[in-house]
């Protein structure tokens, strides 16, 4: 009897968590799409893959953090100061993106051949087009 009560309580907690944590968020799906897309385009060999993905994942984490910080800015402005703050934040984001690009361009060059680095840039552009295509398809 006590065991049944335990099991019921346990199942209740599980169901509550299922409600709080729904299946795979949009960001996770986009990340999975990006990884599959780049993997397909670059055709990395095992040794390259082992070096490339930790560095590229790190780059994406930092890029994402910078963009999320910018997204916290209010997008309606009640005065000039708020508008100026928004523009400053945007400039800061662009600056951070550029610095990260420069830093990780050097790091990624150490992990895969330069030809594949150039292909990576192209693959990222193609991935954006793929996302747009999916949006248009709705």
């Amino acid at each position: 009897m006590k065991n049944k009560r335990y099991i019921l309580c346990y199942l209740f907690v599980l169901l509550a968590f299922l409600k709080v944590f729904p299946q795979g968020g949009k960001n996770e799906k986009i990340e999975a799409m990006r990884v599959a897309f780049i993997t397909d385009k670059l055709k990395l060999i095992t040794d390259e893959s082992q070096k490339f993905w930790p560095v590229y994942n790190d780059y994406q984490d930092k890029l994402k953090a910078a963009r999320q910080e910018f997204k916290k800015q209010p997008t309606t402005f009640s005065n000039d100061k708020e508008a100026q703050d928004y523009l400053d934040a945007e400039l800061l984001l662009k600056n951070r993106e550029y610095n990260l690009y420069k830093e990780y361009y050097e790091k990624i060059k150490k992990t895969i051949p330069i030809k594949k680095v150039a292909e990576l840039r192209q693959a990222e552009e193609d991935f954006k087009k793929e996302l747009l295509k999916q949006l248009q398809g709705k």
């Binding site: 953090a65 790091k107 954006k128």
Partner: protein, 404 residues
Amino acid sequence: MIEKYKQYSLKYMLLSVSLIAAVNTFSQLDTTKKIKAPKHYFTPTLFSDYYVTPDKSIPQIRSRAKGLIEDKIIRNHLKSYQYSQLTGGFYVPLLTRDYERASGNTANFHLLVTGSYMMAMPRFAGISDHNLLKACAGLRGIYNSGKKGIWFFDATPFMSTDLSASCHTAYRWGGVALYDYMANPSLSFRFGFIRTFMFGNRYHLPYMGIRIGRLDRSYFSLQFPQIVTFSFPVGRYVRGGFYAKPMGGVFNMANNDTVYYKNPNEKTIFYGRFEMNYGLRIDANFSKHFSIYVAGGFTGYKHLGFFSDAENATNTTGALNRFYGELFTPSVFANFGFTLRIGRAKSIYKNYNMYEVFNTNSTIGVGSDINMGDGNIPNDIKKKVQANLKMKDVQDLIEAQDLY
């Protein structure tokens, strides 16, 4: 005392979840807070597990079975045996260091603090109910060379006592040291040493393992003495696995029912149990943050033993000497649990070294040998991902000029 303990456990669990939710909500509301990229590959992780086997009458003897110590008086005293356990545990990353090598490889070191509590609930029809607590707190360090090698160390001191009646509290420790050689993402070997109680006694054993197949696809893994499994993805979020795994432990138990009748004055005895489980486990990874699992099957070998505290007092390293041992015919078992990963972690897509680190960490369960599953390793399936996108999901990925 046990009711009090249960109430406190539930209260603390609810309080912890509320606190986490509140901190999460407020951190999202705070627009001035600078968002940093995640520092750790591991997120603070909570897990809980429930395991049960049905009632079996005693005797259930296999003739001439090894480890059997017949004692009709104890057997008649106990009458029947049923076992269930409830486990809760956590690990939290304390420190993560990345080292970028000149070769382009990224090595890293992870230091985790671990803890768990387990309430073992053996039930014998002939004696009073005993609720046995095992609680541990430990440290584990993992060094990933970024190439082929991973070093893993775990030391877990724990205490064991009987919550239902007065007895001594024992302090013991378990530990693992192993080296993992990953020849390639589809083949790895592990060698090391393990000090464990999971076979219902204290043993020092070599650790030997081999895995064939990628961790994000189907693989076969033989990890002696932890587990033998064939694991396979079922879609993007579900993973199934056939497995064989020992489940057991040694717990302090009050001798208030004079189970050790030859020395009725002895206050404490040790209860040791061990089952060899053969079953199927399904893990549903609903997101990076939350997984549940259910498992069931049969116990091919089920052992129960009792040990004298006084007679083993001077034995601090070797296997403990039993005064009673019983073997049971196979029965079924059921096991289910959940794993909750809180906060953000560094991305690990296609980082097979980190997949191996995660798998090593989950295979060597925290304290009570509970396998938390590999919900943080995404399944690699061929099917194209359809994200059902909206503009707001991708607006920070696409520049205005991409639209022309």
